[in-house]
C-alpha cells in the first residue's frame, strides 16, 4: 500500500481518538464530561473497536484496565474532576502496571467553562508516580496519544495524557496517514498473581517496582524527543508546555524555548543544560506551578508564578502581561481601542420546554422552609434567578448524601435532593441506599430525562441505547429504587403542573424518605421535541410577570405584556399553567 495522507481540520478530541486508533487501541471507555466527551464519540466510528460509556469514571477506568490486562491496548477518557472519581484505581494501577498499553485521558478545564473547579490534574501524575504527556495542539494530540501506548508498554505503566478545554475544543490542520502504523500486537491475557493481586505482600514489592520505574522514566524524560529545545536568538529562555506554548510562540517568535511534552517526571538534566547557557529563564504554565516546583526542587534557577496568575485560563493578553511583568517585553503589541462596555450578562438558561423547569418553579414557590441540595447537570441552572431553587452543588452524586447529613442535624428546614438520571447512575445509587438504611427524612427528586444532556446527549443506562447506537433494555429507575425497599416512590409527568405541585407539597411535608421521578424526556436529545406553540392573548394579559418567573427563553416582555417567541416555544404549556389569568396564554389555533 502506498502512503495515503489525509489533510483535515479537526479538534483535539478527534485527534486523540485518531491517535488512539493509530496506536492500536481497540478498547475505549469513560464517562462523558466537558471537554472530554467527543473522544469516545469519535473513536466508536472506527472498525473493529469497542467503545462504551461506563456509568462513572471509576468504572470506565477499571473496564479499560481489565481490557489491558486481557491483552488489548485500551484507554479511558474523562474530564478533570472525573479523575477524582477514578483516583482509587489510578493509584493502585500504578502498582499493577499494564499488559497491553493503557492510557488515561484527562481533559482539564482551566477557566471553568463548564466545571465546578479548575484543579490541575498534572498533580495526579506525581501523586501516582505515572508518566504524564501533554500535547499543545490537535496534531500533537494525535501523535502523542499514539506515542503514549508505546511508553505504556515500554515501562509497564498506565500513562496519563492531559488535554485542556482549549486543546480538546480547538481545531487545527492535521495531516496524517490514517493507517495503524504500529505492528499489530497479539498479547495474551496475563495471569500474574504477584503483579495484579494487590494484597499487602504483593503491593510491598510492587511499590519498589514503581520507584525503580520512576528512576527509569526520569532518564527517559531527558531522552524523549517530545521534550525539546527550540533555539532562538534571546539571552533569556522560556520553559513551557501545553496551550501556553502557542501563546509564547506567537508573542515571542524568536525566543529560546524549552518545550515540554513529557512533563512528569520532568527532564531535569536536559533543562539544567538549557538554563545554564542563559541569563534568565521563566516558566510559563497555566494553573499550578507544577513544572516550576519540580525545577526548583532540583535546584534550577527559574521563576514563573511570580509573574503569571495561578488561576483562570491563559490567553495571549494574559501571557503578554506576564511577560511584561517579568521584564521580557517592553510594550504590548496591540492597543485596546474600544473599552469593555457595561452590558447585561447573558448566563446560560434551561432550554424552552425543558422538563426541569416546572420542578424548579414549584420548589421555588413552595417557599423558604425548604433546603435544596443539588447536583451536576443542566438542572444545576435551577440555582439561577429567578428560579433560585438550589442551595448546594459540589460534585457528582452529592445531592442525596448532603441532603441526608442536613436532615440528620436539624428539622426546621425540609430537605429536598435534586439529581438527574445520568448523575444518579453515576454516584447517586449508593447515597440513596444510605438514605434508606439511615431512615433519612428527605425527598429525593430524580429528574429522569433519560439522557446525559449537559454534555451533548450521551446515553446513560436508562436511555435504551448504547454509545454505538445499539438497542439495550433500559434500566427503569423506579424499579431500581423500589427494589431497595423504599416504599414511597412515584413516577410523574411534570408537565401536569397542578398534580406535580400537589404531590411535591405533600411528600416534602411528610416525614421519612420518598422518591419522586419526573419522567418527561429531554427536549433536545436524542430527538428534538417541538409541539404547536402557545401565544399570549394580549387583551387578557395583565402584565403580572408570573410567567417570566419560570425563566423560559421563549417568553419576553414588551409594552407591559408578555409575548411568546413562536420559533422557540416547544408547547410544553408550563407558562399556561402558572398564568393566574384563565385564557391569557393559549395554544396557537390550528397547531
Amino acid at each position: 500500500m502506498g502512503l495515503k495522507v489525509i489533510k483535515k481540520i479537526i479538534n483535539g478530541n478527534q485527534a486523540i481518538s485518531i491517535g488512539a486508533y493509530k496506536g492500536n487501541a481497540r478498547f475505549g471507555s469513560g464517562y462523558p464530561g466537558t471537554p472530554s466527551s467527543e473522544i469516545l464519540e469519535h473513536f466508536k466510528n472506527y472498525p473493529n473497536v469497542i467503545a462504551q460509556w461506563a456509568s462513572n469514571e471509576k468504572a470506565g477506568f477499571e473496564t479499560a484496565l481489565g481490557a489491558s490486562i486481557a491483552g488489548t491496548r485500551s484507554f479511558a477518557t474523562m474530564k478533570h474532576v472525573g479523575l477524582n472519581v477514578a483516583a482509587d484505581p489510578l493509584m493502585t494501577a500504578s502498582y499493577t502496571g499494564v499488559n497491553a498499553g493503557f492510557v488515561v485521558v484527562t481533559a482539564d478545564d482551566p477557566g471553568m467553562h463548564s466545571s465546578q473547579n479548575e484543579q490541575d490534574n498534572r498533580r495526579y501524575a506525581k501523586f501516582a508516580k505515572l508518566p504524564l504527556i501533554e500535547p499543545s495542539d490537535p496534531f500533537e494530540a494525535m501523535a502523542f496519544m499514539q506515542y503514549a501506548f508505546v511508553v505504556s508498554e515500554k515501562f509497564d505503566t498506565p500513562v496519563i495524557l492531559r488535554s485542556t478545554t482549549r486543546i480538546s475544543h480547538s481545531l487545527g490542520v492535521v495531516q496524517f496517514d490514517p493507517r495503524t502504523l504500529d505492528n499489530e500486537q497479539n498479547l495474551k491475557l496475563q495471569k500474574d498473581f504477584r503483579k495484579y493481586v494487590m494484597i499487602p505482600a504483593n503491593a510491598i514489592s510492587r511499590h519498589k517496582v514503581v520507584l525503580d520505574r520512576l528512576e527509569k522514566l526520569k532518564l527517559f524524560s531527558n531522552e524523549t524527543p517530545i521534550n525539546k529545545v527550540e533555539k532562538g536568538k534571546t539571552n533569556f529562555g522560556i520553559i513551557t508546555s501545553s496551550m501556553a506554548y502557542n501563546y509564547i510562540k506567537e508573542l515571542l517568535p524568536n525566543v529560546h524555548m524549552f518545550k515540554v511534552g513529557f512533563s512528569y517526571p520532568m527532564p531535569i538534566e536536559k533543562i539544567r543544560e538549557f538554563v545554564d547557557k542563559l541569563d534568565e529563564v521563566i516558566v510559563v504554565e497555566e494553573l499550578e506551578p507544577f513544572m516550576e516546583e519540580e525545577l526548583k526542587i532540583a535546584g534550577i534557577n527559574v521563576e514563573g508564578k511570580k509573574h503569571f496568575p495561578y488561576d483562570g485560563e491563559f490567553n495571549l493578553d494574559i501571557v503578554e502581561e506576564g511577560l511584561k511583568k517579568a521584564g521580557l517585553i517592553k510594550e504590548k503589541t496591540t492597543k485596546v481601542i474600544f473599552n469593555e462596555l457595561e452590558l447585561p450578562k447573558r448566563p446560560p438558561a434551561l432550554c424552552p420546554g425543558c422538563p426541569h423547569r416546572p420542578i424548579f418553579d414549584i420548589l421555588h414557590s413552595l417557599g423558604k422552609d425548604i433546603f435544596i441540595t443539588g447536583d451536576i447537570g443542566c438542572y444545576t441552572l435551577g440555582c439561577l434567578p429567578p428560579l433560585s431553587a438550589m442551595h448546594t452543588t459540589v460534585c457528582m452524586g452529592a445531592s442525596i448524601s448532603m441532603g441526608i447529613g442536613a436532615s440528620k442535624v436539624q428539622n426546621k428546614q425540609k430537605i429536598v435532593a435534586v439529581i438527574g438520571d445520568s448523575t444518579f447512575f453515576h454516584t447517586g445509587i449508593q447515597p440513596i441506599i444510605d438514605a434508606y438504611i439511615s431512615n433519612a427524612n428527605i425527598t429525593v427528586i430524580i429528574l429522569d430525562n433519560r439522557i446525559t444532556a449537559m454534555t451533548g446527549g450521551q446515553p446513560d443506562p436508562g436511555s435504551g441505547f448504547t454509545l454505538k447506537g445499539e438497542d439495550v433494555k433500559p434500566i427503569r429507575i423506579y424499579d431500581l429504587v423500589k427494589s431497595i425497599g423504599i416504599e414511597r416512590v412515584y413516577e410523574i409527568d411534570q408537565y401536569d403542573y397542578e398534580s406535580t405541585k400537589k404531590l411535591l407539597k405533600e411528600e416534602i411535608n411528610k416525614p421519612g424518605l420518598s422518591v419522586i421521578i419526573p419522567t418527561r424526556p429531554c427536549v433536545l436529545e436524542p430527538k428534538k421535541i417541538k409541539e404547536g406553540p402557545l401565544i399570549v392573548v394580549s387583551d387578557k394579559c395583565t402584565g403580572c410577570k408570573r410567567c417570566l418567573r419560570i425563566a423560559c427563553p421563549a417568553i419576553d416582555f414588551k409594552d407591559n405584556k408578555a409575548i411568546i417567541d413562536e420559533v422557540l416555544c416547544t408547547g410544553c404549556e408550563v407558562c399556561m399553567h402558572v398564568c393566574p389569568i384563565g385564557g391569557a396564554i393559549v395554544k396557537k389555533e390550528g397547531k
Binding site: 489533510k7 466537558t34 475544543h169 481545531l171 502557542n246 447585561p344 447573558r346
Partner: protein, 192 residues
C-alpha cells in the same frame, strides 16, 4: 507574523460553530494554516458564545488578542458590543440587526443602537439579515448570507468557500446554502 482573524459571536443555538467551521475549511483549502477555537458544554444553553478562526502562514494560538481581529461576525447586537475590546480601527464588522432577550433584563434597543454607532471601525454593516433569509424562504439561512457578504472582504477565493460549504454541511442543506452564500456575495455591492 501575519495572522488574520475572524471572530464569531452570538447566542448559544445561533449556529456559530457551523459557520466558523465553514470559514476554517475555506481558509485551509486556500492554503493557509488555520486554528479555530470554540466552547462547548454549559455555555451552549442560550448563553453568550464565541468562536475564532485564525489563519496565516503559521498560526499558533487558537484565540485572539484584544484589539487585533480583522473581522467580526455577530448574530446579535448585544453580543457584538460584548466583544468590542477585540476590535481595532481596521476591523470589518457584520452584525445581524437583532436582539435576543435576556431573561429578567429589559434591554433598551435604542441605547444598544447608539452604542453600536459609537464603534468606529473601518466598516460596520448592521442589517436585518432575517429579511434577506425570509426572502430566500428559510430563516435558518441568515449565517450563510452573512458569510457570503463577509467573504467578499476576505483574502480567500469564493471557490474555496463553495467547497467548504459542501464539506461542512449535510448534503440536503448544501444547495440552498450555496444559493444563500451567493446572495450574500451580491449584497456586498451595497457596501462597497
Amino acid at each position: 507574523m501575519n495572522i488574520n482573524s475572524v471572530l464569531f459571536v452570538g447566542v448559544g443555538g445561533d449556529g456559530i460553530i457551523t459557520a466558523s467551521n465553514v470559514v476554517a475549511y475555506a481558509c485551509m483549502l486556500s492554503g493557509f494554516d488555520v486554528k479555530k477555537s470554540e466552547i462547548h458544554g454549559m455555555s451552549q444553553r442560550g448563553g453568550s458564545v464565541s468562536a475564532s478562526v485564525r489563519f496565516g502562514d503559521k498560526v499558533y494560538s487558537p484565540t485572539d488578542k484584544m484589539g487585533s481581529v480583522q473581522f467580526m461576525l455577530s448574530t446579535e447586537k448585544v453580543e457584538m458590543l460584548r466583544w468590542v475590546k477585540y476590535l481595532s480601527r481596521d476591523s470589518i464588522v457584520v452584525v445581524n440587526d437583532r436582539i435576543v432577550p435576556i431573561i429578567g433584563q429589559a434591554i433598551d434597543e435604542g441605547s444598544i443602537d447608539r452604542m453600536i454607532e459609537r464603534v468606529r471601525v473601518k466598516k460596520l454593516i448592521k442589517r436585518k439579515f432575517i429579511d434577506d433569509a425570509n426572502k430566500l424562504g428559510n430563516s435558518r439561512l441568515v449565517n450563510t448570507i452573512i458569510l457570503g457578504l463577509l467573504s467578499h472582504f476576505m483574502d480567500v477565493e469564493e471557490k474555496y468557500f463553495v467547497e467548504a460549504i459542501d464539506e461542512v454541511l449535510p448534503e440536503k442543506l448544501r444547495t440552498i446554502n450555496q444559493f444563500a452564500f451567493s446572495y450574500g456575495i451580491k449584497l456586498s455591492k451595497e457596501y462597497a
